[in-house]
Subunit: 144 residues, 2 copies
DNA sequence: GCATTTTATTTACTTAGGTAAGTATATGGC
DNA sequence: GCCATATACTTACCTAAGTAAATAAAATGC
C-alpha cells in the first residue's frame, strides 16, 4: 500500500482498542469508557468539557459515553455553580475497582509493545507527536 | 496520561481519518471507501475476502462499504465461478476519477507528516509494525 | 450420494467517532 | 434591564469497526 504509514497507524489503533476491549470484558467496560474513568482517576472531578478537551474528542462523544457510565454506576454527575456545566466524578464502586482494572490494562498494553525497547517506545511517541503539526507549531511538540 | 503511546496512536489515527475525509468531500467519498478503491486500483478485481484480508478488517465492514460504493456507482460486483464469492471491480467512472483522487490524498497525507524527515517516516513505520507482535513472530516484521 | 462441515457473504446489533442543529444558561453591550 | 452573543451540553443522524448468528454454496467423509 502506498499510503503505508496511515494504513499502519489505523491498523494498530484498531488492534490496540480491540485488545483493550478484550481485557475490559471481565469488568463490563469498553475502551472509551475506560479512558474517561482513567481521566477522572487522574484529575478528580471534571466538567464534561474538561474531559473532551483532554481526550481530544468532540463533546457529543463524551456525552454518550458518560451517559452509559452513569447508567452502569461508574460515575455520578452534579450541576456546577454554572448551571450549564455538569461535573463528573467517580462513584465509590469505581474507585474501589479501578486499581485492578488499571493493572489489567497495564498488562495488556505492555504485551502489545513487548517487542519494542524502552528507547523505541520513547522514539515512537516522539515521532507520533510530530504528525499533523505544521512548521509554526513544531516548537510545541513536547507539550501535547 | 500514563498510557501515552496508545492515546497518541488513537489520536493520530482519528486525526488522519478526519483529514482524509475532509479531502475526499469533493469526490463524495469517505476514507474507508477510498481504501477499497485504492486496493482495487492496485490489484485489479478482487473477491470481498481478498479485500478484507488485505485491509485487515472484518468481512461485515467490507460488505457495508462495498454496498455503498456499488450504489454510488464506483464499483460493480459479479458472481465468481465459486458462487459464494462476489468479485468486485472498479467501474469505468471510478477508473477515470481515481488519478485525481489519489493525487489529492497524496497531498493530504504528505501535509500531515510534513514535519517528519524521510528517515523519520521510515523509522515510524518500522516501530509501528512492531506493535502487537510476540517474540516468535518477530522475524516477520518486515513482511506486513 | 447424502449428511456433515467448512467457507463467503450478509444481517442485526453494539460501541466509537464525527457534524449540525437544538436547548438552556451566562455574559456583554448599550 | 434587555437583547444579542457565547458557551455547555444534548439530540439526531452519519460513517466505521466489531461480534454473533443466518444463509447459501462448496468440499469432505463415509
Amino acid at each position: 500500500m502506498r499510503n503505508l504509514l496511515f494504513h499502519e497507524i489505523h491498523q494498530k489503533s484498531r488492534l490496540s482498542i480491540k485488545e483493550v476491549n478484550e481485557a475490559l470484558k471481565e469488568f463490563d467496560l469498553y475502551s472509551s469508557q475506560w479512558s474517561i474513568l482513567f481521566c477522572l482517576n487522574q484529575f478528580g472531578s471534571m466538567t464534561q468539557k474538561e474531559i473532551w478537551q483532554y481526550l481530544n474528542v468532540e463533546a457529543p462523544t463524551v456525552t454518550r459515553t458518560i451517559v452509559r457510565l452513569e447508567k452502569s454506576g461508574w460515575i455520578a454527575r452534579r450541576e456546577g455553580k454554572d448551571k450549564r456545566e455538569r461535573i463528573v466524578q467517580l462513584s465509590s464502586f469505581a474507585e474501589q475497582k479501578l486499581p485492578d482494572i488499571e493493572e489489567r490494562i497495564r498488562q495488556t498494553e505492555a504485551s502489545l509493545v513487548s517487542s519494542l525497547t524502552d528507547e523505541e517506545k520513547e522514539q515512537l511517541l516522539v515521532l507520533l507527536k510530530k504528525i499533523g503539526i505544521t512548521g509554526s507549531e513544531e516548537k510545541d511538540v513536547r507539550n501535547g
